[in-house]
């Protein structure tokens, strides 16, 4: 029976990326396909890339070598330390703000009305356009403006998904809770929050991707540090092999963090992965 599986019905909802549970568990066969696809792309790149453009399309083997060069001279570790500080700081802020505003606006009409137009407007505007404003607001000092940029990029998927998760709570379960004389506090812990959980986690997955973009953008615009700076500076001197190293680090980071959230979902929402 699939009566109460949560997170599947996303009708009328703006929440995005809520997955059905069928695809959640990866089987060994899935990994063969996943790794095989990467191998094919790298193989084609290695063989045919340099024949198209020797300067820009440096083969993966060159990038691999550049990776160790950048580790040997310490540049990569420094940049990663800097960037991840911004990334995790920004994601933490986005999570705190997104969850609080998402829950509040999902629950109280007043909060919803107060923030909905702003959220819609800010979410529609390319976040990049707001980065100079952030730079000015924080006087371009320290990590704060870059953390704020990451937070700006990442906050909306969390906020909107949390809000929709709280709003889409199963009315029938609310009635069951009332029928058993629930208290307001228990209503949250028994019904509303667990039912919003898949939405929130889907929001976090999207936020990770946007946060990584925000991190690089902030480093392009504000202060020239971290992985973003590595990208720009090596691009300017046509060391495309080295330029690709931070790009690949960011991509790997995305894969690892999304995988972590998926793992986390299995831990804190185990009912979702148990299909009949």
């Amino acid at each position: 029976m699939t009566f109460h599986r949560v997170g599947v019905e996303v009708d009328e909802s703006r929440a995005v990326g809520v997955r059905t549970s069928r695809w959640r568990r990866l089987r060994p066969g899935d990994w063969v396909v996943r790794l095989g696809a990467i191998a094919v792309v790298l193989g084609v790149w290695e063989l045919f890339g340099p024949t198209l453009n020797k300067l820009i399309l440096r083969p993966p083997s060159d990038i691999f070598r550049a990776f160790f060069e950048l580790i040997a001279n310490g540049e990569l570790q420094d940049a990663m330390g800097q960037s991840f500080r911004e990334l995790f700081g920004g994601l933490a802020v986005a999570l705190a703000v997104g969850l609080v505003l998402g829950v509040a606006s999902g629950r109280w009409r007043f909060v919803y009305n107060a923030i909905d137009p702003l959220v819609s407007a800010l979410y529609s505007v390319p976040s990049v356009a707001l980065v100079p404003l952030i730079a000015v607001a924080f006087r371009s000092v320290g990590d704060a403006p870059r953390i704020a940029t990451v937070a700006l990029f990442a906050v909306f998927p969390i906020l909107i998904n949390t809000q929709q998760g709280v709003r889409n709570v199963d009315r029938q379960l609310l009635e069951v809770a009332r029928s058993f004389n629930t208290s307001e506090r228990r209503l949250w812990t028994d019904v509303i929050l667990p039912s919003a959980m898949p939405y929130v986690l889907a929001g976090v997955r999207l936020a990770i991707g946007r946060g990584l973009i925000g991190m690089i953008v902030a480093e392009f615009f504000i202060g020239l540090v971290g992985l973003g700076y590595l990208i720009i500076s090596y691009e300017n001197v046509f060391r495309i092999d080295r330029m690709f190293v931070p790009v690949i680090v960011v991509a790997t980071m995305g894969i690892l963090m999304m995988g972590f959230v998926q793992w986390l979902e299995g831990r804190i929402a185990p009912w979702l992965k148990r299909e009949q």
Partner: protein
Amino acid sequence: MATPIRISVEHVTKRFASGAVTVFEALDLAVRDGETLCIVGPSGCGKTTLLRCMHGLAAIDDGRIVIDGTEVRAPSRKVAMVFQHFGLMPWKRVRENVAYGLELAGLPKATVQERVAHYIEMVGLRGFETSYPNQLSGGMQQRAGLARALAVEPDILLMDEPFGSLDALTREVLQDELLRIYQLAPRTMVFITHSIEEAIAMGDRILVLSARPARVRELFQVDIPRPRTVESVIAHPRFIPLRDHCWRLLRERAA
């Protein structure tokens, strides 16, 4: 001689859509102590709404509903409901779902555990305590729903088409289970159904409602002795006359 009245619905009116739709008007009925009152009626006649009103889940527009001398305004712990949609929390295991009402009632942990085990056993779910609802069949989910309601040991059970979404075979098995459980501990029960056969099997009395706005078409005794099983009820000589009578009442209105 007179059996005490547990639930009394007095001149109750319920409207929907800001008064545009009248679900029922000046409805009167009484549920006696220890009896199972089955309510049947055409779909959409407001059976479920009536039950929700009895539980205090929906407000009424006029009249009053009294349970044991107290007017119903909000759900009471003396009353428990079994839902057509089961209403299990997907994130709770069977054990936690059954414990739900007990925890909300603030009972000590040991009592909760003891009662949960007892009622899980009673509904035949032993071995599934740690399953999540979506790992169970519909019939088993409703067993859990039933255990959750029984576990709070309510004076009154409200059954909202509890077997309505189950397949015919599972439904019959659960009807027998409920008859058996009733035999163990008879308690006052209001049982909504759209199945005439089910009403006859489960009910001591049957209340037939008309189409909206719902009125009491007829209220009659099911003169088939307990203990019952679905099989024994169907085989009883009174079964077919009662069923035909019910059918006639429902069809007259539908035509």
